[in-house]
């Protein structure tokens, strides 16, 4: 048994202080310790992208980081997208364009789209396709995902 460490993290604007074992994955910390179960665990080796979160403003795989490494970090999960009942334009677009079916990959899709659209507000469908290829979806066949991100880009530009 190894010693636990005290860490402080900000998640979706809220400060948390917790004791964690060094081997605790960030995704397990978010889900089990903070009970933020919006972030999903898929493959646990960085391939499927479901566990994607924003770490100090950049997307990372939360299954490929340890919670101790997040000490002092600012994290945003899918729960941080909406403001109260007001959905984020990316969420609205995924709803309108049927960018999800079972919803398992959706947290990863939304967070990947969030970073991507912040960096590139007017992407081509090809750029969207390349960027979103980091998250695997077994339902949609991806066409609706691309349509959703293109729609979100347009809504965010017109805002």
């Amino acid at each position: 048994m190894t010693d636990s460490r005290r860490i402080m993290v900000k998640v979706n604007g809220v400060d948390y202080e917790r004791l964690v074992e060094p081997r605790r994955l960030l995704v397990d910390f978010l889900r089990d310790d903070l009970e933020l179960i919006g972030t999903h665990i898929g493959c646990e080796h960085g391939i499927c992208g479901s566990c994607t979160v924003l770490f100090n403003g950049r997307v990372v795989r939360s299954c490929l980081m340890f919670a101790v490494q997040a000490d002092g970090a600012d994290i945003m999960t899918v729960e941080g997208l909406a403001e109260g009942q007001q959905l984020h334009p990316i969420q609205t677009a995924f709803q309108e364009k049927h960018g999800l079916q079972c919803g398992f990959c959706t947290p990863g899709m939304l967070m990947s789209a969030y970073e991507f659209l912040n960096e590139n507000s007017n992407p081509s469908a090809e750029e969207v396709r390349k960027n979103m290829s980091g998250v695997l979806c077994r339902c949609t066949g991806y066409k609706q995902v691309v349509d959703s991100v293109m729609e979100a880009a347009e809504q965010m530009r017109n805002k």
Binding site: G49, V60, L64, F66, S112
Partner: protein, 291 residues
Amino acid sequence: MKPCAFEYYTPQSVEEAIELLDRYGDDAKIIAGGQSLVPMMNFRLARPEILIDINAIQELEYIKSDGDELAMGALTRERDIEQSPLIIEKWPLLSKAISFIGHSAIRNRGTLGGSLVHADPSAEIPTSLCALNGRVKVVGPSGERTLEPEEFFLTYLTTSLEPSDLLVEIRIPALPQKMGWSFRELSRRSGDFAIVAVAILLFTEKTGVCREARISMGGVAPTPVRAEEAETLLSGQKITEKLIAEAAQQAAEETDTEPDYHASAEYRMDMARVFVKRGLQEAWNMLNGGQ
């Protein structure tokens, strides 16, 4: 699965990291981006007893050009190199190569040094380093040394680093302003490991004669390899379609391929030929002001 338990250290300087490595030797593993190590730990293929996290050593994260040479800290994130205006302008091959690594979430976290010490022979950074004539600076308990790629990469996933060594810097010489280059790879899906990766640089005289050709191939031998005989075929010659085809054939013969789950040895070898040919054509077109 979940990783085995380990003791966790967060050194704040290179000296402190080396002291820890020296103390724990083979039981310890360095973690930087963790994009190769953590999957192996999750599967329990790697079970380090001690994890030395170097992410707090900020002196290892930089991109600078002193004189003409490019110097990058081992902890520099792949995404920062990919997006660096300096690198895009002067070493565009490196930026392009990195764009093939995984996905943005992987490149945001993954580091330059991490990819090199992992020494996957199909990986983009090792393959580019060989084409760019880069060198790596290593610090150990008895001081520092600089290694050429052929001294650094020994075989599959194995470098010449000693257990107490830390890779600290990567240096890449200046390139002439006028050059042709290409980076291409074959993979089943976007972001997958390359079956074959090819990095090419071409320099010509004013007359259009090839002064120097560099062809580096990944995924076709236990380490990335330069197709030296194919390079010799091109140098000093006027480049033609026919010569490119001959050089590509020669490059394929300089591979040392083995079959695996993804591709047979023959397929890899033939794809090395195809990708070297396309890469040379692309680099040649670039020199001629074309597409």
